[in-house]
């Protein structure tokens, strides 16, 4: 740009460029992030049906299918039932909760406990990429809203058990986007596998399952999800 051709914009440009280097109040940033979390937890209701057929309308069948997919063992059944009992809405007739209700519930939810790092996809050789060392900044980024983080996973679980698989996937994707370094990564990966199993994506589910067992060999979620395939593929 030849500023000499436009002497009148020089002062304005300098001022505005200097102004752009001003840091915005961290509280405003946090407020926006909090609202984003709530918005992504409760996106607007879709106008069209989800296209998931009976899965969207027959939660019981989905639970049964999940139980079958999980091996229908006593422990698996107990675990799934406990998860269902814990996360199901208390009032099935009531409409979707408002943002403020979600916030209240998020505040009341238990604080997330520390868990192993995020499950990573296998590369072409089938090995799992080691998680890179966690940077302090990354940890700090995920730190501000652990209750909302937990709440978002709860919503994903509720959607899964209600057979609303697209909703469940959206919430898991939102969680992954908002909290890439989450301490709840193990639980999120377990839910992701369940969503894939329930939606019939068996190959993808098995691949994730193998990775899950490699990453979290002692996970409490492991037995309920099923055994890894013999060849690890």
């Amino acid at each position: 740009m030849k500023r000499s051709d436009f002497p009148d914009d020089r002062a304005i440009v300098d001022l505005l460029q200097e102004h752009a280097s001003t840091r915005i109040d961290a509280r405003a940033r946090e407020r926006v992030l909090t609202r984003l979390s709530l918005s992504l937890v409760d996106p607007p209701e879709p106008l069209e049906p989800q296209g998931l057929g009976s899965a969207a309308t027959q939660p019981a069948s989905v639970v049964l299918r999940l139980l079958r997919g999980l091996g229908a063992g006593t422990a698996a059944s107990a675990l799934v039932f406990a998860a269902w009992s814990w996360s199901r809405p208390r009032d099935p007739v009531s409409p979707r909760p408002s943002a403020s209700a979600v916030l209240q519930r998020a505040v009341a939810a238990p604080i997330a406990t520390q868990a192993p790092p995020e499950l990573k996809p296998a590369d072409s050789s089938g090995s799992v990429a080691p998680a890179p060392p966690t940077k302090a900044s990354s940890a700090a980024r995920s730190a501000p809203s652990p209750d909302q983080e937990r709440s978002l996973l709860e919503r994903a679980r509720t959607a899964l058990l209600a057979g609303e698989l697209t909703q469940a996937q959206q919430k898991l994707s939102s969680h992954r986007a908002l909290y890439p370094r989450s301490g709840l990564a193990e639980e999120r990966s377990a839910l992701q596998i369940q969503v894939l199993q329930a939606s019939g994506q068996t190959l993808a589910a098995q691949r994730q399952l193998n990775e899950f067992h490699r990453r979290y060999p002692k996970s409490l979620f492991g037995p309920a999800l099923g055994a890894p395939s013999a060849n690890g593929e």
């Binding site: 914009d9 984003l36 296209g51 994707s173």
Partner: protein, 192 residues
Amino acid sequence: MQSCPLPTPSEAEQATSPASPNDFRSIFDEHFDYVWHSLRRLGVPERDVEDVTHDVFLKVHAQLAARDPERQPRPWLFGFCLRVAADYRRLARNHRELLVQAEEPTDPRPLSNEQLEREERIRAALSILDTLELDRRAVFILHVLDGCGMKEVAQALGINVNTAYSRLRLAREDLAQSVHRLRARGTIDETF
């Protein structure tokens, strides 16, 4: 069983892996200030900029998977800012409020004379910028203030390069006229 429009796990994980340029939290953390300032430059008043920033990032989140990671994030984000700011201004109530816009609320904390003067000058500069038509202003902001090349500007705004150059020329002419007019009225001093 019906097919489910779910991303494969590898896609889902890749889209948000820490190394990915499409990591939403990285984009949010790195470019939050940029989005905020861009909205201010596009005429969103201070009192509403937080709400509008939220709306921008909602749309960014929805479109993140479609983003070409080779492209610079700022022009891409500016495209969202422009559309959301245009929607904001189109709302009748906002338009009416903008026409009768009062002075921006001042920070309640005490400021030194120098700070006050600087705030005043920035406010005046934003007011002058606000006299430009939005399309022209967008080119001016991206090219002159953000330093983007004209090809990049044209791509970000979905226009051809010649149109971008034309809008830039008109924006500068409009800006010069606004400065002269405001000087003549005594609204701004000769340093502008």
